[in-house]
Assembly symmetry: C3
Homo-oligomer: 446 residues x 3
């Protein structure tokens, strides 16, 4: 964990450059739902994040799903009738249909065509295509190249197997003073694509490093890296009940690497602490550069975290829409990503987490009438004309609304007093023994 | 039930003409709270609706009320000093004060006047007047005729009795796949009046025929014909607890027979499935030709169905306000009614019922994370760029919100996806074993 | 209680004049948290209000607080180097730091200065300063006088002690037909200050006299006079649980004596019966001359009554803001107060109490279907065209919404019918045995 010790300030050029070096190491790896590429990626990110590896054996039933076999790929290329390689995974691992079955043999141009994937509307890009749930072999290539393929016999070499092994997840927990948790989740299953999805695990790792460096954390922060969909489902099969009991806010990090306005998609609950904190931070710091939308069950892992049986307070903060021209094509590369923007994304996440960390739901230990402030050094002792000073007002609001229903963000909103002053007052009242925070943030079942 | 077999398409001229033939048979009958006219009416409507007769004995206590005696009327006329008949029930049964006591004898012009009812503001109409709860005899006649009555002795012949018998209700149930029910109620106590109220039982009967012809019904449909107020009270004394447990939506049908914009009056709950479905259908199909108003405890049988002890989700869909110039006068006759409009009313009710039938509240059988769609044939199996297709999106919304709180109408509203696609997705998910609908629509006690 | 018998009509010049005579007797007394001045004040107000004296011994623990010692003051003055008296409590009891410790001795001009209190920004006023929670001695004087004090030796005479005794509260209860209560609280701890606070206890006393003269009271009215903060805290230690169970509305009376627009500050609940009634009365009678603000935990005793452990439905109706130029200075004297305005304040409070008294939350004794109105003389017995008359409509609304959730004020709002007609209908229905009010107003725990 020396990386934590050498922490570079938020939003500095130094952080962006450091992100870039990790990007460059991670980009070329062949990731998929399972396999060596995922494990190598977790190893590299493990330099930044104290990750525990979770290996879930192939064939494990997780809710309605089954953990798939491990994908082992050694090489993959296609040779034309003239013996020249049409495509080779070594040039770009998008060329191989992701999770493709192995195949060696000769096929006619016509038969080959059923195994090729290209985009007629974007003839120069390699599309990213997967076939996780139906065994197929195939190649992805620019439409222009495909169109130019002559008749004849093609030699296919896909040296790949699906073997009984395991699906790999990485998890890290930064313990706080309470058992209430914030969940940060991102995906680790796409091969050489920049914004979707390398920007997610990178933002997660650098956010981890920042939060690890906080002098104190009221809440516990749980970070998880998993393949999309099946990964979050498997993770919920392990941690779903725990999260239902402890998670007070959470975010799916994806598409966070471009210099575009922030996009916040609310949790299914619509008014969870995650939602209020994100909207409040974005409204204050990026008032002209963010948009907010309601939950919809399309997108990424929020579909699992917000499934009705869990209904976790998990939103999504990203910087591109779910779909954009470069999405799932070779155009989503290093040039498409801005490391400064990625670092700014980490700023936003950190600010939101700070707000959440300060937004505990206290319960007054002196709910019947006001407690005495003077003897606790919280009030002037001589009666004066004029309204109570701002700090005293904040204190009175906090004491009055700390009934277990209002978190500090809600108290700030109802009182019209800035969040920071409310949080300061709450800290003072808590230190003075007037507020309890134990178990106070428990999320009611819904 | 051959009528069902010979079903004529909704809104066709054929249906309107068929309604007219029933109207002409029903119009002349002398209906009241009780008696032969009601039974004859139920017999005729029984040709369309498989009605079970419920006979509640006179004197039965129903909540705060008592079932009245049967009214038996043989003839009723008034002879002037010159021996000529001033009014005769045979000309128009509105001439007899409804539920009048019997009386034979001679009275002076002056004494007679206390027993006459007319409308000075509408001197040419016969008003419809009742005296259910105070024994009186009387005649109703045009004010102009009353004014012209000379002095002298008048001979009154009201050959009528009130006898211990029963009050007659008709009930029919179209069973569906679940025990959850939609209630359709209308009144059968007014004599020769067209819009108020013959249009109600006629719309009910033809709606019954349409729903009976549906290839399947998820819900059970309960139709009831009763006299107004005392009839719905007696019916609730029999079925109130059952309805409180099973009724998910209901409507009082009245004043449905004129070519005027639809008027929907919400249930007391204000946001029940009945309300949301009616407003959604009217908004989509008659956007410029409908109005919606909040519940008020004036009007018809909704006063009973929405009394605080039951508070059923019962609204009113009609086409005239509670009061209008022709209301409760001889002007509310065949000419006032439009059979095409009546058939269109049946269209509206059928569309609303269809929407309700499709608006079941499912519960996901796979609430923890998304279920797999691919193996169930509900999802493409190859990863592609671009947003999921519309059907997949609908499916994801349905699965995400099927938590027992949201019915399909609510899911359509929250997702912004059209109801039909949501319903189709739900059907597919249900067929695939992903959703349960058993007992899912139970109305929470309130 | 002869005062009640000699009741003078609301808002009459006679009442204002009578208030003035009490003001003149109460103004000169030296009040503080405890002591003889408080008891003398309670004696005088006891001529108007049948007060029970509650004496709470010094040292008693009340929640987080301790009842302070009694303050006994015999004389207090300051002599200058020339032997002339600089200030003397006999001229104005504001001159003595309130709750000052005793001190006799000679001090230098410099040492003296640490014990002087003045307002540089208002050099001609004597400020009102207290030191309840830290033992200090001191004098208050105009800044101009302080500035002119020459060097030299000053003789201090503060013949005062703090002794173990008791803190005095006064309480009076006007019993009504039910155990549900309205609380009226005011303070009795400020010495010679007119608006803040003598206007409060005076308004309370004259409101008591008015309500005592009502021919009937549905609710019970509880009046309490206590020193600010520690007094309401001590009172809540005695009556808090009782009030939590019975109090349906309450008001802190303070700053009620100037001819300025009314200011209503809502209870913490924000929509309590106190709030709705006050806003409705002020809106109807003083539409251009009132303002409403949300609860905030600054101000007076509402801070205790609305502390989260009690959260009583207690608002504040006053006529000045919490702070104004004359506040806590010798400018807040007889000239600052308007006795006509004070009498108008009593008008407002009485109207609000009347509304609350009439706003009982009934429960229908006939919740299943409508009860019969005719046999109870509440409905015409002959069927007629046209909408039901206004009184019948009001009756139907009251019966429909008397489900234990709606008080009459809420029924008036939902129905759009004027409160008076709703209340009249409810009274008729209650008299007819259709509504129960027993225990109906119980405030739900929150």
């Amino acid at each position: 964990m020396t990386a934590v010790a050498s922490k570079i300030g938020p939003g500095t050029a130094g952080e962006a450059a450091e992100i870039a070096t990790y990007f460059d190491r991670l980009f070329p790896l062949l990731r998929s739902l399972t396999g060596a590429g995922v494990r190598q990626s977790l190893d590299i990110l493990g330099e930044l994040v104290l990750l525990e590896r979770i290996e879930i054996p192939s064939g494990t039933k997780v809710f309605d799903w089954t953990v798939p076999q491990e994908w082992v790929v050694r090489e993959a290329y296609l040779e034309g009738p003239d013996g020249r390689r049409v495509v080779d995974m070594r040039d770009n691992n998008l060329h191989l249909l992701n999770y493709s079955t192995g195949f060696r043999g000769e096929v006619s141009r016509e038969e080959l065509d059923g195994h090729l994937h290209s985009r007629a509307d974007m003839p120069d890009v390699i599309p990213y295509v997967t076939s996780y749930y139906k065994p197929r072999w195939g190649f992805c290539l620019p439409h222009r190249v495909r169109e130019a393929l002559s008749a004849g016999t093609y030699r296919v070499m896909i040296d790949a197997d699906h073997i009984d092994g395991a699906m790999s997840l990485g998890e890290a927990v930064l313990k706080g003073e309470t058992a209430e948790e914030v969940l940060i989740a991102s995906d680790i299953c796409h091969p050489s694509l920049g914004n979707d999805e390398l920007s997610g695990p990178l933002a997660l790792a650098f956010l981890y490093r920042r939060i690890a460096a906080w002098p104190r954390r009221k809440l516990t922060y749980r970070f998880v890296l998993h393949p999309e969909t099946i990964g979050s489902i498997a993770y919920l099969s392990l941690r779903g009940n725990h999260l239902a009991a402890h998670c007070v806010a959470g975010f799916v990090m994806s598409n966070t690497g471009v210099a575009a306005p922030f996009r916040y998609k609310r949790s299914r609950r619509g008014n969870s602490l995650a939602d209020r904190a994100a909207e409040s931070v974005l409204g204050a710091r990026w008032p002209q550069a963010h948009a907010v939308s309601d939950y919809a069950p399309v997108g990424s892992d929020e579909r699992q975290y917000c499934s009705p049986g869990f209904n976790l307070p998990v939103g999504v903060l990203s910087r591109t829409p779910d779909h954009y021209p470069e999405y799932h094509t070779s155009l989503d590369d290093r040039d498409f990503v801005s490391f400064d923007a990625l670092s700014e994304t980490v700023d936003a996440y950190e600010a939101i987490c700070r707000k959440i960390d300060n937004s505990v739901r206290y319960r007054s230990l002196s709910p019947h009438c006001e407690p005495q402030l003077g003897p606790r050094g919280l009030y002037h002792t001589i009666g004066r004309a004029g309204p109570p000073e701002a700090m005293t007002q904040a204190l009175l609001w906090v004491l009055n609304l700390s009934d277990g229903d209002h978190d500090l963000e809600a108290i700030a909103q109802r009182s019209g007093i800035g969040f920071d002053l409310i949080a300061e007052a709450a800290t003072a009242a808590h230190k003075a023994g007037l507020l309890s925070e134990s178990g106070a943030m428990r999320v009611p079942a819904r």
